[in-house]
Symmetry: C2
Subunit: 324 residues, 2 copies
């Protein structure tokens, strides 16, 4: 095991300097800081976490990494995270990672430098290598990465509720528009449930994936146009977000299909907008506020060195409205 | 004018300690820090900004104060602000102020302590006393406060375009749902334009204000229900946001009024959702991305001690779709 002395020697600085960099204390030039980081990385140096946390200066900042705050689901989630973080004396730094892995990596580096105390990670990036072997306060959202605690709602239950509802309402051919299944997200379990249940009931099904940037709204309309053109006999849609469901409503109007008479639609999330659309969306409600509150609780416990539960899965709820 | 010596004496610490607090450098206990701040406040001490900025350690964090990121307009705005800030090497810290003045004040204190380098302020709080006499990098959004540079779109032009369109389409009695006019926002100019133009044309008008928490969605439906109950002959609605316009669409459906045949609706903002609603919303487009980019440019220039333009007003654009 390399020691702090080895790091100092390799970086050509004193032990005090390394200690200062680790604890983000005193004045250190950016060049020196970089030299020390490099030496630490080359030697795979792991500072003694407990000793470190006793000394380190807290920033009281939590980093929140999400695909984009412009999407209603993440906008509402971030609002709640900020609300509960503030109750605990923390501010939040928001990173819209989109699919930018480098940007996400910078936040992890900030965590290493104690510029943020912890990270709530709900990004959709494909590679998550950077997270492995990290021993910092991190909680993931709808993703399972290494041994980090995670927050999710029961996606399999959500997929089951949505699919069963459409079948019980008499749908014979159901389309499912889901995210990109290449991404390792727990939300994929919605699609698994959909597939299994339609198979069990011998119901014809079509599954369409969005592209990698699942929140690129522009694609939804063309995906749905193509779907309805190729499968004129679809009589049920299970969309993996309320926004996609809203586009389905719009495209139904273009194809002169009446909702719910000709075609039934179920969304997902129950963002505020779900109840404004006409007809009001039937959807699967994720308990966003509770999930945000727990994400903050888990990250703050980690920051304070307390134990936290690893798997935190919330039940979802079917909100039956006017589209089914 | 009090000096750094006076502050040190009052706080019972050395001049070096005060300097460290000012420049956020070296180790300072929280108790000492608080003593120094208190002394500074009591003495109304204003550090020499230029000398200070030469010494101070930048945080590369911009504070963004908005009513709530859960509202689509501010969600999209924050997404763009983060995008452009990141290009310039800045991270953003998001504060959903709602109507909480104390919360907002904390961010100003962070600015004073160099924990954030600047603030983009778009909150809707009633009192803005804390901002006066501040000499820090601040840019306001849709508000004019003291001598701070501000970013806005041309609200008067927006109100004019919306009202003229409704009149030209034959509306004889137009309702206007606006924010709370007690709040000192530039958006109030939309209502001024509405009032002037309907008066000029001798068009009957009803103006309804939302309550202070203008983004409390729950109120919209009851406001519109009451409006349509009391004024069954309204044939035009100018709503001050697309979300309110969407609620108007919903309530029209309840009152069996066909849009645009019986009643015409114009929204405001042109958030992404405006084009998903059926029928698609006619609205006034604010150039959100350009406004966000300039807000970042102005704040970064201030942080770097460069001059910036004080009044930054963007033209708006009428997006005629299916509700008029």
């Amino acid at each position: 095991m390399p020691t702090i002395k080895d790091v100092a020697q390799k970086a050509g600085v004193t032990v005090t300097t390394v200690s200062r960099v680790l604890n983000n204390r005193g004045y250190i030039s950016e060049a020196t800081r970089q030299k020390v980081y490099q030496a630490m990385e080359e030697l795979h140096y792991q500072p003694n976490e407990i000793a470190r946390s006793l000394h380190r200066r807290k920033s009281n900042i939590i980093g929140v990494i999400i695909p984009t705050v412009a999407h209603p689901f993440f906008g509402e989630l971030t609002n709640f995270i900020e609300f509960y973080a503030y109750q605990q004396g923390y501010k939040i730094m928001v990173c819209n990672s989109h699919l930018n892995r480098d940007k996400e990596k910078e936040y992890i580096d900030m965590l290493k430098r104690n510029q943020v105390d912890g990270i709530i990670m709900g990004s959709h990036t494909l590679d998550v290598e950077e997270y492995h072997n990290l021993r910092y306060p991190i909680v993931t959202f709808d993703r399972k990465i290494g041994d980090f605690p995670y927050i999710a709602s029961n996606n399999y239950q959500g997929g089951t509720l949505a699919t069963n509802l459409l079948i019980s309402k008499g749908c014979k051919k159901i389309a499912h528009i889901c995210g990109n299944l290449t991404l390792d997200l727990l939300a994929n379990q919605r699609s698994e449930a959909f597939q299994e249940i339609t198979n069990q009931h011998g119901i014809e099904s079509v599954t369409v994936q969005t592209n990698m940037d699942v929140f690129d709204d522009d694609q939804y309309e063309s995906i749905l146009n193509q779907l309805f053109s190729e499968h004129g006999d679809i009589d049920g849609v299970f969309a993996t977000s309320d926004i996609i469901a809203a586009y389905a409503l719009k495209v139904c109007r273009l194809f002169k299909k009446e909702v719910p008479h000709d075609i039934k639609i179920v969304g997902y999330d129950d963002v505020k907008l779900a109840s404004i659309f006409v007809p009001q969306l039937t959807t699967i409600r994720q308990p966003l506020e509770d999930m945000a509150a727990l994400a903050v609780e888990v990250i703050v416990k980690q920051i304070n060195g307390e134990n936290t539960s690893l798997e935190n899965v919330f039940p979802v709820k079917l909100m039956e409205r006017q589209t089914t």
